[in-house]
Amino acid sequence: MIEGLTRNAARNVFYGGSLFFFVVFVSLTVHSHYYIVTQSTDSAGLNESVRHGKEVWEKHSCINCHSLLGEGAYFAPELGNVWQRYGGLNNPDAARAGIKAYIRIQPTGVPGRRQMPDFGLSDEELDALVDFFEWTSRIDTQGWPPNDAG
């Protein structure tokens, strides 16, 4: 299959083709950037609290146990839809209280059950984190996850 091709032709196809696909890839991500900012996420609602919530999320590296929109570790539950799972669409106050209470009682210490550490989050940090989850839950993810189990 390769006999008809000279070394230099192969090299030129590699450089030319790679450049072409690189330009296509970057162009599509530029468009995706625009799409994310204008359509699939709530840019206007990305307030101080949501930003702070993302910082809390990162400070404690939650992603190394949980997944968020399916990415992360697979040791603990998906949190991209934790807002829906706690009934946030129908009763936001109860969902907020429920998520905060759940984080506060960790670690459970139950033998044989995976333990989440106590990160000592303040009430303000917990609220910011919940705001971040709520904001994330409204990202247009093309219908993923398939159900509330995440």
Partner: protein, 451 residues
């Protein structure tokens, strides 16, 4: 070893091997937590173990690539390394930064995006070291003969450094954060690292088979062309469900399915050249790792990647143990085995001995490969069950996890086997040289003839 400065590679390989052992120890610890969830839950919670495991992997693979580059560059360029001093300083910075990050993690000092947990100052040190390496290697290349192998290798390493710069960009918008995060992670392992892999394999194949460079070069360009033609737009398979447009579903499905082609081409390439080659190289274990790398990369990255890459399948499997299965075998086949192949080839030259401890090295090959394969099977079965129960039947995550316990026990056992194999490998390379060549491969070729 024709060139004096090739010995620069030696401390790189030693550092890489030691960090490899540490990486696998953290891996086994994580495996223990899956079986006994209360283990270390206070002293070293799971997220710390996991970031130690993944960061050590990246750091030692990169140190291995640096060492491999310093080893082959003088032979390819036919000149000495521009500055061995820069090389040693650069290694020192890299190891120091990696070790500082690792120790900091144990005290909860880290950032929060996976694989990019290093504190900012560590990221800066890693970047400085990487740039020193690129300067040193590029100067060496420009001083001498520019072969296809060394050019493609350095292109891969330069692009890896450039895409790494996205680690410094962390937008507040989560969807943007995720989209550019893959600029590093996917474009590295399924893009530009493919150039590093193909060029290092081509180097090994030339050395071990003696096949004409003209033929090897042509294959190399075809393979790396396929890598980037499929791999760049193949990034789309990470853009299905994170807030990116729907057109990524057909684009990502189509191009990431094609990512199997370069991996398959590497298998054909390696076996065809060994079949064609006339040279009976005494380093049989290097040959085993080289062929093994191509084969396991094809299964781990190619077959296991294809298994869940189509968007309508990924809709159900995304973020389950299927991903873990693929990730483990892909990294092992493509990049771990690649590093072990080049170390197995280079170490006898660096230590000035005949190929040695070959039997132990080959035993470690089979044990490690079998262990990783078994681990992948157990995680795959766990992932299939998880996908069905959680994604189809909508059963709660933690309830489903309890049903996976049997697989996690078997995964732990395979992890322990891998650790034993790794220790055997390290001893085979760094320990006392006992055997010279395998029994049937009597030393009818002097090592000097087999450079």
């Amino acid at each position: 070893m024709k060139y004096e400065t090739q010995k620069v590679a030696y401390p790189f390989f030693v550092a890489a091997l030691l960090l490899f052992v540490a990486q696998i120890i953290f891996g086994v610890l994580a495996g223990v937590v899956y079986v006994f969830p209360n283990f270390l839950s206070e002293a070293m919670p799971f997220h710390i173990i996991r970031m130690s495991h993944t960061n050590l992997l990246i750091v030692w693979l990169l140190i291995g690539f640096f060492g491999a580059t310093y080893y082959l560059l003088p032979e390819e360029a036919e000149v000495e390394i521009h500055s061995p001093t820069i090389a040693y300083v650069q290694l020192g910075i890299f190891v120091f930064a990696g070790a500082a990050a690792l120790i900091g993690y144990q005290f909860g000092i880290h950032e929060g995006r996976h694989y990019l947990e290093q504190p900012l100052w560590v990221k800066i040190l890693l970047t400085i070291s990487f740039l020193m390496f690129l300067y040193n290697a590029s100067r060496t290349l420009l001083n001498g003969r520019k072969t296809a192998i060394s050019t493609v290798l350095l292109l891969g390493l330069w692009l890896a450094a450039i895409f790494w710069l996205f680690a410094f960009y962390n937008p507040a918008n989560l969807a943007l954060d995720k989209m550019y995060w893959w600029y590093i992670v996917h474009v590295w392992v399924e893009g530009v690292w493919g150039l590093i892999m193909a060029s290092l394999l081509a180097y090994l194949v030339i050395k071990l088979t003696g096949v004409d460079r003209e033929i090897i070069d042509k294959w190399l360009y075809v393979i790396v062309g396929l890598v980037l033609f499929s791999g760049l737009l193949g990034t789309g398979h990470h853009y299905y469900w994170i807030g990116t447009p729907a057109y990524w579903q057909p684009i990502g499905s189509f191009f990431s399915a094609l990512e199997v082609l370069p991996l398959f081409a590497m298998v054909i390439f390696a076996f065809y050249m060994f079949w064609r080659g006339q040279r009976d190289h005494p380093n049989k274990s290097a040959m085993l790792w080289t062929l093994g790398c191509a084969v396991m990369a094809f299964f781990g990255a190619g077959v296991w990647g294809f298994m869940h890459t189509l968007s309508f399948i990924n809709y159900y499997t995304h973020g389950t143990q299927i991903t873990a299965a693929h990730g483990h075998l892909a990294f092992f086949g493509a990049y771990v085995m690649l590093n072990l192949a080049i170390m197995t080839y280079a170490m006898p030259h660096l230590r000035g001995k005949l190929p040695y401890n070959q039997m132990l090295n080959m035993w470690s090959f089979w044990l490690m490969t079998a262990g990783m394969a078994f681990m992948t099977f157990t995680l795959t079965f766990a992932g299939v069950i998880q996908t069905h129960l959680q994604r189809v039947m909508a059963i709660n995550f933690m309830v489903v996890q309890e049903d996976l316990e049997l697989f996690m026990v078997m995964r732990l056992i395979s992890g322990v086997i891998v650790l034993i194999a790794v220790l055997m490998f390290v001893y085979a390379l760094l320990g006392r040289a006992k055997e010279q060549v395998p029994a049937e491969g009597a030393p009818h070729i002097a090592p000097a003839a087999a450079v």
